[in-house]
Every structure is written in structure tokens, then in C-alpha cells.
């Protein structure tokens, strides 16, 4: 080949090469200059991770600073569900079940319940012993997707105490996660499920901090670029008095057991005690029995089985009867009927009514006559003695004199049929104050005769039976109104919200939203009647020998249930001292029978303990005194 052709061909090749280099350079230009910003951002996205530092959750204290909910550092084991696929995942599960002493089924159950995103860790066990943690660290390369870390877990130092008030924590549900999507929750987060944990979730939670960490391709941290400290959640100081709460729960459990053992009422397992400070509405104790141990419900390893156990329990331990239980008030309702009759001029304090204990229309019999053996009829009664002796005949009469609408009006004025306004989750039931209009609508699909309101139903309502439904908390609030001669404060559980440093952020001021208007004469008559209940009336047996010179007023209630529905429910609501009430106690026992038998003694125990502190100051205080001289 001659040199000319060769040069010519070399030139062609040269141009080809230049073209190729031009194309490569263009591509370089495009990637580095045109798209440079985008790729720089992607490179940062590769290497920079936001690692969350969870904020310590706010604690809960009783009114005296005794902790009810705190946090505790604990080794936790979590799993990334996305890394558990295939054979490797099987091996990891096998190793993990050996290490943690959980069965594979339990592990898979926990994963199934916790899974929402494949790359969000699921906590499968907390309080992992240090020995296991060491063993897991040694095997960490055989356990991909398993995270062992020190995390704060919720602790309820008093176990089941006030469980319905305090509540418990659980992994956030998908529906809550989407509802709270703007609040920065992660699917691995634990949130308050019920009680104050839930209601004050956003106060307790605080704000998570975090650090910007540079990581390698293997996700190993290389350096911390930026750090934002978490803002700890705020503490709640409750109105609850831990000792009183403990007493309320213990007296319920012990006394119901005693009643069952006595053989008269063998089905009484569930009950409520609500203790209020009538001067403010502060809830000093709120017990609903049976309760549950929030520690076990909040524990990743136990929650599944424990929750199943609780939800299958026929006594429904998860149910907060104090605010969600709906019952007839029985005779404990009679004070509002008395007030209505006196205020509406349907009777006077001095009117003497002859009670033959056979109700108007001759169909109903008072409890005296149905007793075996029958007790003598009440005979001549006034409003005061009718209350003291719980004379149904008298209140049937008053009910008919007032009429259902007037009864309903006073019942509503006393707070029945609407929530008291307590800060609790799940929120209160409203209850039911029936009237003819309600009945017509309620039974609109039934024949006309079923829709009519009958005088018999007015009579039932006048003794707290029939369609009337109340919550134990409403009863306590009503008795707070009686104790205060009218004023009903909104009950509240949170005294104040404060930062962990003690700085107060918010404080609850007592709010009187409801006032039962009545004349002093009316109040005197009703309150004297209620005091007589304890002194000499239906409640006297429960309070006989009360050790302290305190006058107590109260009312028994015994809710007759339909045939086959079991023993009557037992109520006792009262307050003390009568002259200047400091404490309102409402006690209720499902199927507890007579008010004086079951609920009455529980109220007495609580009052005794409460006044003991006033009349017998703690012994060690005297011993601490420095001898003078």
C-alpha cells in the first residue's frame, strides 16, 4: 500500500477518533456540568443518613410525685422484616429463636403483627439479658437484619395500678400512622394506646432529635455531620393519689372476694370506685376492676398472648367501667328526684306521706315487701326519711307528681345524659336520660303501643331503674354536686403538665360548668336524708363503728335486673364531712347485690383511710421531732 493511501486512511481513522472523543466529552459535560447538581445531591443521599434519637417520653406522677409511668433503659432486639426472605431469613429466625428462647411461631407472630414496611424494624423482644446480647454480638454476621440496641422502654412501677387511667403503649397502628403522618411518626414507634398515655400522647412524646451521619456503602457510620438533640416529652402530674388508688383497687378486689365467699352474691367480680375532691373536681382515685398490667401489654414479647388472654376474659379487664360502663343508678338516683319534687313544689320538707309500699296503680311492690321474710312497710315518711330508708313508694309517688319530663330535666341538670368532661381515653359514655320523645324514636320500628311512654316507666325512672343509664363517673360527679350544694366541677385527672426540669407548662384550674340550683331548705332536707342513710338508714350497717368523728352522707343503690340477668348491681355514693365535704366516693359492684352489703363497705374503707391521715398523723412524724432543750 502506498503511503498516500495510508495517510488518507489514518486521517479517516483520526477523524473517527476525534468524533468518539467529542462524544465522550459531551457525555462528561452532560453528567458533570449539566446534571452535576442532581448527581451531587444523589451522592449526598447515598452517604448521609438521618439517624433518629428518640426523645425520652414524659413520665406520669401521682399528686404527691410518686411515679406511675417511667422509662427504663433496656436491651431490645428488633428485626428488619425485609431482610428475612429466603433461606437466609429462615436461618436467622432459627438462630434468633434459639438465642431469645422464643418459639419460631412467636417470632413470626410478632413479625406479622409489627410489619408495615420492610425496612422499618420490628421490636420482637425487650429486656434481653446481657448474656444474650453478648452472644448476639458474637454472631452478628450470622444475624443480618437483626438489630440489638439499648432503647428506653416504658415502665409502670406499680404494675396494674390505675391501669385504665394510665393506659399502655403499643406499636403504632397503620391507621394511626397515616392519621398522624404529619407528626413524624415512624412505623416502629410505640404510642399510647389508651388512658392518659393515649390522650396526652403528643405531650408525653416530645420531639425526636437525630444526627446526620455519614455512612459507608455497608451502612457503617463514618462520621457525624450534624446533631439535633431531642426535646424530651413533658411529665404529667396526676390528681390521682397513689395510696388512695391502691386502697380503692384493693378494697374492691378484697371486698368482692369476701362477698362472693359469703355466698349471697357469688357472681360479683367487677366493680368501680371513683374518688373526687368536691372542691375542685380532681379525681383522687379511679379504679375499674378487673384491670390489667400495662407492663405486659407494652412488652413486645408478651403483648400478643397477654392481649388475647385479656380480650377473651369474660370480665373484660380492658374495659374502663368507670367511664364506659352503663348501668342503672338505682336508689342512688333518688336525691335528684327529691330535689326536683321539693324545688317544683310537688312536696315540702315536712309533708308526711303514708307509704304502704304497694306502688300507685297497685302493681309494684317496694323492696321491703319483696324481702323474705317481708319487712314491714315504710309507713309514714317525709322526704328525709324516705331517702334514709330508700322508700320506693314515696319516690314512685313523687315521680308521678313530677312527670317524666320534669324528672328528665332535673336528671340532665345533674349531669346525666352527657359526659362529665373528664380527660380520658377512650372517652366517656354519655349515658341515657329517657323521655317520651326518646322512647318514640327508639322504638319507632315497633308497634305504636311500644312507642308510648307509660306512667309505670316514670315510676321506674323515679327509683333509678328502667331505661335510665349512667356511668359511675357521672354518679360521682352528681354526688359532688350534692356535696357542694349545687356546684359540679368538671372532673380531671391531670393536675399539671411540666417539663422534666419541673417547669410548669400548664395547670388545670377547676371549672364549674354545672350548677344544680335549689333552695337552702331543699339542700338541708336532702343532705340530712343522706346523712341519715349512713347514721340510721339503709347504709348504717356498712358504717357502724366508723372510727373517726366525721359525719358522712350517702345513698345506697341496688339495681334489680331482669329475670335471668343475675344478682342486682350494688351502688353506694357518698361524701364527707357533711358540713364541709372534702371527699366524694362512688362505688359500684356488678352483681354485688344490696348497696349496704357490697358497695357501702368499700366506700367506708376508703373514707376510713382518708380520714385516718387527718386524725392519726403518720407515727414517724412525731418520732422525727427534735427534743427541745
Amino acid at each position: 500500500m502506498d503511503n498516500k493511501t495510508r495517510v488518507e486512511r489514518a486521517r479517516v481513522l483520526g477523524w473517527c477518533i476525534i468524533l468518539i472523543f467529542f462524544l465522550l466529552t459531551s457525555r462528561l459535560w452532560y453528567l458533570q456540568i449539566v446534571q452535576g447538581q442532581k448527581y451531587a445531591a444523589m451522592a449526598d443521599g447515598n452517604r448521609i443518613r438521618w439517624v433518629r434519637t428518640p426523645a425520652p417520653r414524659g413520665r406520669m406522677f401521682d399528686r404527691n410525685g410518686v411515679p406511675l409511668a417511667t422509662n427504663r433503659a433496656s436491651f431490645t432486639v428488633s428485626l428488619l422484616p425485609g431482610s428475612l426472605d429466603g433461606e437466609m431469613g429462615e436461618q436467622v429466625l432459627t438462630r434468633l429463636s434459639d438465642l431469645l428462647g422464643l418459639t419460631r411461631e412467636e417470632l413470626q407472630e410478632a413479625i406479622k403483627k409489627g410489619i408495615s414496611y420492610p425496612y422499618e424494624p420490628i421490636r420482637v423482644m425487650q429486656d434481653v439479658p446481657a448474656k444474650t446480647v453478648v452472644a448476639m454480638e458474637e454472631q452478628r454476621f450470622e444475624l443480618p437484619g437483626v438489630i440489638v440496641e439499648m432503647a428506653e422502654v416504658r415502665e409502670y412501677p406499680n404494675g396494674p395500678l390505675a391501669s385504665h387511667v394510665v393506659g399502655y403503649m403499643a406499636p403504632i397502628s397503620p391507621s394511626l400512622l397515616s392519621a398522624w403522618s404529619d407528626l413524624g411518626y415512624y412505623s416502629s414507634d410505640y404510642v399510647g394506646m389508651t388512658g392518659l398515655e393515649r390522650l396526652y400522647e403528643h405531650v408525653l412524646r416530645g420531639e425526636d432529635g437525630g444526627s446526620q451521619v455519614e455512612v459507608s456503602a455497608l451502612n457503617r457510620p463514618v462520621q457525624v455531620l450534624d446533631e439535633v438533640p431531642p426535646v424530651p416529652g413533658s411529665d404529667l402530674v396526676l390528681t390521682i393519689d397513689k395510696d388512695l388508688q391502691e386502697l380503692a383497687e384493693r378494697s374492691l378486689v378484697e371486698h368482692l372476694a369476701k362477698v362472693r365467699a359469703a355466698g349471697d352474691y357469688t357472681e360479683t367480680y367487677c366493680g368501680v370506685v371513683v374518688v373526687l375532691n368536691p372542691k375542685t373536681g380532681a379525681v383522687l382515685a379511679m379504679a375499674s376492676i378487673p384491670g390489667y398490667d400495662p407492663n405486659r401489654l407494652s412488652d413486645a414479647g408478651q403483648r400478643g398472648t397477654y392481649y388475647t388472654e385479656l380480650s377473651q376474659d369474660k370480665h373484660r379487664p380492658l374495659f374502663n367501667r368507670a367511664v364506659r360502663g352503663l348501668y342503672s343508678p338505682g336508689s342512688a338516683f333518688k336525691p335528684i328526684v327529691s330535689i326536683a319534687a321539693l324545688e317544683e313544689g310537688k312536696t315540702t320538707a315536712n309533708e308526711v306521706f303514708y307509704a304502704d309500699d304497694i306502688g300507685p296503680y297497685g302493681i309494684k311492690r317496694c323492696w321491703t315487701l319483696r324481702n323474705s321474710p317481708p319487712l314491714p312497710a315504710h309507713g309514714n315518711v317525709t322526704v328525709r326519711s324516705a331517702l334514709a330508708e330508700s322508700c320506693n313508694d314515696y319516690f314512685w309517688e313523687m315521680g308521678l307528681r313530677l312527670g317524666v319530663d320534669m324528672l328528665a330535666e332535673y336528671a340532665r341538670a345533674a349531669g346525666f345524659g352527657s359526659p362529665t368532661g373528664l380527660d380520658i381515653y377512650p372517652s366517656e359514655e354519655e349515658g341515657l336520660v329517657p323521655d317520651p320523645e326518646w322512647k318514640r324514636q327508639r322504638f319507632s320500628r315497633q308497634p305504636r303501643s311500644e312507642q308510648l311512654w307509660y306512667p309505670m316507666e316514670t315510676m321506674d325512672m323515679a327509683i333509678g331503674q328502667g331505661f335510665l343509664l349512667v356511668t359511675p363517673l357521672q354518679m360521682a360527679a352528681f354526688y359532688m354536686g350534692l356535696a357542694n350544694r349545687g356546684t359540679i366541677y368538671v372532673p380531671y385527672l391531670v393536675e399539671r403538665i411540666q417539663r422534666p426540669t419541673g417547669e410548669v407548662i400548664a395547670e388545670t384550674r377547676p371549672r364549674a360548668v354545672r350548677v344544680l340550683e335549689a333552695s337552702p331548705q331543699t339542700w338541708n332536707a336532702v343532705i340530712e336524708g343522706l346523712a341519715d342513710v349512713v347514721k340510721s338508714g339503709t347504709g348504717a350497717s356498712a358504717f357502724r363503728g366508723f372510727p373517726y368523728p366525721v359525719s358522712i352522707a350517702g345513698k345506697t343503690g341496688s339495681v334489680q335486673l331482669g329475670p335471668g340477668q343475675g344478682d342486682a348491681h350494688s351502688w353506694f355514693c357518698g361524701f364527707a364531712p357533711v358540713e364541709d365535704p372534702e371527699i366524694v366516693v362512688a362505688a359500684f359492684a356488678e352483681h354485688g347485690g344490696g348497696g349496704a352489703t357490697t358497695a357501702g363497705p368499700i366506700v367506708r374503707m376508703i373514707m376510713e383511710e382518708y380520714f385516718k391521715k387527718q386524725f392519726e398523723p403518720a407515727g414517724e412524724a412525731a418520732g422525727d421531732l427534735e427534743p427541745i432543750g
Partner: protein, 376 residues
Amino acid sequence: MKKWLQNIDFTLLLIVGVLLVFGLVVLWSATAGSVPNAQGDSLLHVKRQFVWVLAGIGVMIAICSIDYHVLGHYHRFIYLGTLASLVLVLVFGRSISGTQGWFRFGSVGIQPAEFAKIGVIITLAKHLDKKEGLDQLIDLVSPFIHVGIPMLLILKQPDFGTAMVFVGVLFGMLFMAGADRRHLLGIAGAGLALFSMAVFLSIQGIVPILAPHQISRILVFFDPYSDRTGAGWNVIQSMIAIGSGGLFGKGLLQGTQAQLNFLPAHHTDFVFSVVGEELGFLGSFFLLVMYLLLLWRGLKIMTLAKDDFGANLAAGVSAMILFHLVINIGMTLGVMPVTGIPLPFISYGGSSLLTNMAGIGLLLNVHMRRRKIMFQ
């Protein structure tokens, strides 16, 4: 001796020197902190590569000191030796990441396919030199067979990328040796059509001509995000690395993609991505210009060659380097499929460096014994 020295292409030597130094510096940055080694010596890779550089210089000097006509004289031995080494590696070789292409001597791995490039260039140059003409299509059959046999052996390993370099070398040398460009274009077109057909049939699962990982690499070439954590990962991370380098780059040892190991194989096949990330557009462009100058010297030597055999040699070496560049840099820029082709003079690895230095030796050889048209 003085005359001999005078005839050395110092421009070419300078360019190669710059590339080698550039390569060692980039290699230092790419390996110092991010490529672990058992010795715990952050300079281990640089030291080893430096030894290879010295060895390469030795090979270069050795090759240019033997008259290339002597090499041509032994073309049969070279060809048979090349084929033998490729057969032996298939029988006794070590397999690394799925390719059986390595002989292992102690801690040193040797890739016969690399040296086969030089063997094929020398023997094909001789073969084309001996042919009467290349005007007829039938004349192209024997060169194709000549390159085809070692190429098939390499495809058997399988090493698709290296085989592609052989195709490039063949076409480059045929073109320079005077083959009809319409023939070459026709054959290239037909080859591309056949290849597309093979890809299509494999993807559809009708005839499994290509291995699954080859199909996925081709699919990923068209859309890296179709398998972003698998086969597409390298390409995506390489493009992020280069793109994030911007105009000036992040500086040596500062490229997060490379230093934090997001970029795989960043001291071997993806070393250009490190250049792009740490030295930016300016550094990358500088490197491209160096290569362009190198190829310019290659073409120049081709025209200066004393005879067709010398010109064929220069064409072969230039084509080899060109195809390495295009396939490797194109891959890092996301415009070529991922193949395990190293970047000449820069990528870590001895076989590739020795081969390229041998190629430079051939270029110097041809240049030194060029046509005497000067006034001497």
C-alpha cells in the same frame, strides 16, 4: 546507539509517562482508605502497581529493542503460543467472578487473554502483510478466522469485553491494511444485526445464546434502574460519582462515592469514575486529551512505518487502546454495557498494564525503524 536514541518517539514516551504517573496517583486515592487488604498497608496497591509499572517499562524496552521484523519472523510460534495459553487457561485456569481467565503464580494473577491481544496484533499484522490483497470480500475470510479462533476461546471463558476488543482490533487493522470500507461496514452491520437477534432470542427465552447475567447487563444498559440494586448498581453509582464531581471534582481522597465504597471496583474497571468524581470535568478531560494525544502518536507512527507490517502493528496497537478506552469510559458514563475491561495505564492490574506497555513497545519499535526520509 546515539542514532537509536534519536529515533525514539519521546512525545509518545512523555504521554505514557504522564498517564502512568496520573494512574498511580489516582490509584493511590482510590485504594488508600477504601480498598481493604490483609496487610493493612494503605499503599499496598500503589506499591504493587509501581512494580508492575517497572516491569511494564522493562517489557516495553525489551520489545522495542528487538526489531519487529524478528517478531514477525516468529509469527507462527507466537500465534500457536497464544492459542495454547488460551486453551490452557480454560483447562487449568482459575475462575474469578465467573470468568475462567487467570493463571495464578503465588500472589500474582496472569490473564493470558491480555497478552493474547499483543500476540494477535503481531500475527495478524504479519498475516495481512503476507496477503496479496484485501479487495475482495473473500480476502477477509482468513483474517476473520485468524482472529476468530482466539476470540472464541476467550468467549468460552467467558470474557465478552475482551472478545469485543479483538473485534475492534480486527476491524481497525483491516481498515488500515486497505480493506474495502463498504465490506467492513457491511460485515459490522450484519454482525450487529446477528447480535441483536441473539439478544432478542435469549431475552424471549427462545434460544439461550447469552447467559442470564449477560442479558441482564444488556437490559441494564438500556435502563440501569430496571435493576438498581443488582446489575444496574455499578452503572448508577458510577454516574453518580462522575456527575457529582462537577467541574473541579471533590479532590483526591474526597470522593464519597469511591471512598465510602458506594462505587464498586473503583480501583479496577471503574477507576475512571474516581477520576470523574475526585478530579472533576477538568481532570477527566485532561485524561481524555492524554489518550487522544497517545492515539495521535499511534496514527502518526502508522503513517511513518517503514513497511505495511509496521503500519499494521501500529494500527493494531492503536485500535486496541482505542477500544479499551471507548468500552471502559463509555461504561462508566453509562453509554456502554458493563464489561470487565480495564482502563489502559490507569486501572489496577498487571496483565493489562504489561499488555499496554508491550503495545507501546511495538509503537516505539515501528517508530524507531521508520522510513528513512530524514537527512542522515
